[in-house]
Amino acid sequence: MEYFYTVVILMALYVILAASFNFVIGYGGLVSIAHPVFYAIGAYASALLARDMGVPVILAILAGGLIALLASVALALSSLRVSGDYLLIGSIGFQLGTLEVIKNLHWTGGAGGLSNIPSFLTQTLGPQAYVAFAVAVAMCTVLLLRWIAHGPYGRAMSAMRDDELAFAALGRNAMVMKITIFALGSGLAGLAGGIYAHYFRFIAPGQFDLLQSSALLTMVVVGGLRSTWGPIVGAIALEALPQAITFINLPPSVLGPLQGILFTSLVLIFMFVRPQGLIAASARWRGRQEEAR
């Protein structure tokens, strides 16, 4: 049963990560790979606040999200000022650099990881409560992002993605909008990080590396860019898949690389065969009212 809870919590967390990543690269058109780093920043910030400074866990998780949000604004401000392409380059550097810093700091636990993170809910109300908590946050995330994407803000995001120059010439502030999208998406990833940290109670830099970036990208691309349900399907399917493989009793030395190969080939196959993903988003932006009609 413990195993089942763990898988459901991981699925919920990947739903948050994939949905928020889809918000950034799909709806926002902001190509970044650093999403797992904001997940890491949220996890570390929340863990350290709760463990070393005695902050109540629920506040620490929220603070973790906020700190990830602020870090993303710093990255966005410096790279988006030049041009959108620099965000990708900046994000690669940020991803590698931040993990390197975490590995070499004393108070983050270094490469060995951070342990003894205070638990939350599991010891008082049982693991089911934590499952409910994670699933609830995931659902709220999906609904929030869907609400934004299908309202007036979503219309503006589509227009900005289509033609930034025309968008700005109509009086719209593209820069503020991009930073907002990036900050919100990254903040949600940070929130997921805190939820991860206080359940597993151990985090290490290796859990947030480039393999995570590729896993998230796979979830979004395979699920369907710019659709509400696509990243959810992608996250659940691709979280279930590696779990399923572990039942085939392969040695761990094969399992790890196999996952990487699986994710990469899935992205390639989908790019060629079904670029719209499992759940295709409409080519055209549709608002709430029009769906109701």
Partner: protein
């Protein structure tokens, strides 16, 4: 103060190419001024400088007495400076109506914080803007295709929609970049009457157009540009008749 657009000593060079050479030009409120001249004369560059796409090396752009030279493109638009584009630049993933809504001067859903805190007010503003957009579409005779995807609209109608999107701004100054290229028949007359109506309501209108007949029908006066300079200004008839200018235009 309704003085329209006033440009003084506007200069811009890209490397060795001078696109604006000390341009002095004013478009008074309520007037329609046509820019004519051969390709490469600097007409579109002039629009890009005025609307803020590129920053000038020197000079000043005034809108109704206010200096907007230091302002970004979006801020100029928010002060009532609207433009269209030679290559339209509509938003392909939006419907006709949604394309227009993005052009609202104070777009209600632009800030996420406002969306969260004042969603009721934004919904009301959106409803009003929708009605306004439908009204603008009615004026150009395209209300029937409001909910069509923009990519399924014929080119001639897309040109009108480009103008309609600029009208959502309630501009004080409107820059039209080759509005007639590819437009025929009914759309031609519609565009003429819409632009005349705007000028009558006090908007300063500046049109770049190769269709001399359109310019002659529409504009109060014409400005002949060549190599980034304003060479002549006067009524369109006399500019077209000037053999000196005709020679420059056709390069004979």
């Amino acid at each position: 103060m309704q003085t329209g657009l006033k440009v003084t000593n506007l200069c811009k060079r890209f490397g060795g190419i001078v696109v604006a050479d000390a341009i002095d030009l004013d478009v008074p409120a309520g007037r329609i001024v046509g820019l004519i001249g051969p390709n490469g004369a600097g007409k579109t560059s002039f629009f890009n400088l005025v609307s803020g796409v590129v920053a000038p090396d020197a000079g000043q752009v005034m809108l109704d007495g206010e200096d907007v030279t230091g302002l970004k493109m979006a801020e100029r638009a928010r002060r009532g400076l609207a433009r269209t584009w030679q290559n339209l630049r509509l938003f392909p993933s939006l419907s006709v109506l949604d394309n227009l809504l993005i052009g609202t001067r104070d777009y209600p859903g632009e800030r996420l914080s406002r969306l969260a805190l004042q969603s009721g007010r934004i919904a009301r503003d959106e409803t009003q803007d929708r009605l306004k957009a439908l009204d603008v579409l009615e004026r150009i005779g395209l209300a029937g295709i409001a909910h069509t995807d923009i990519v399924n609209v014929p080119y001639g109608q897309q040109k009108l929609i480009g103008v309609a999107r600029a009208l959502m701004n309630d501009p004080r100054c409107l820059l039209l970049d080759e509005p007639m290229a590819g437009v025929e028949g009914q759309a031609y007359r519609t565009l003429q009457s819409v632009v005349r109506g705007l000028a009558a309501s006090g908007v300063a209108v500046c049109v770049v157009e190769h269709n001399v007949a359109f310019i002659r029908d529409l504009c109060n006066e014409g400005v002949f540009m060549f190599a980034g300079k304003v060479l002549a200004r006067g009524d369109v008839e006399s500019l077209v008749a000037d053999p000196r200018l005709t020679e420059l235009y056709f390069g004979t």
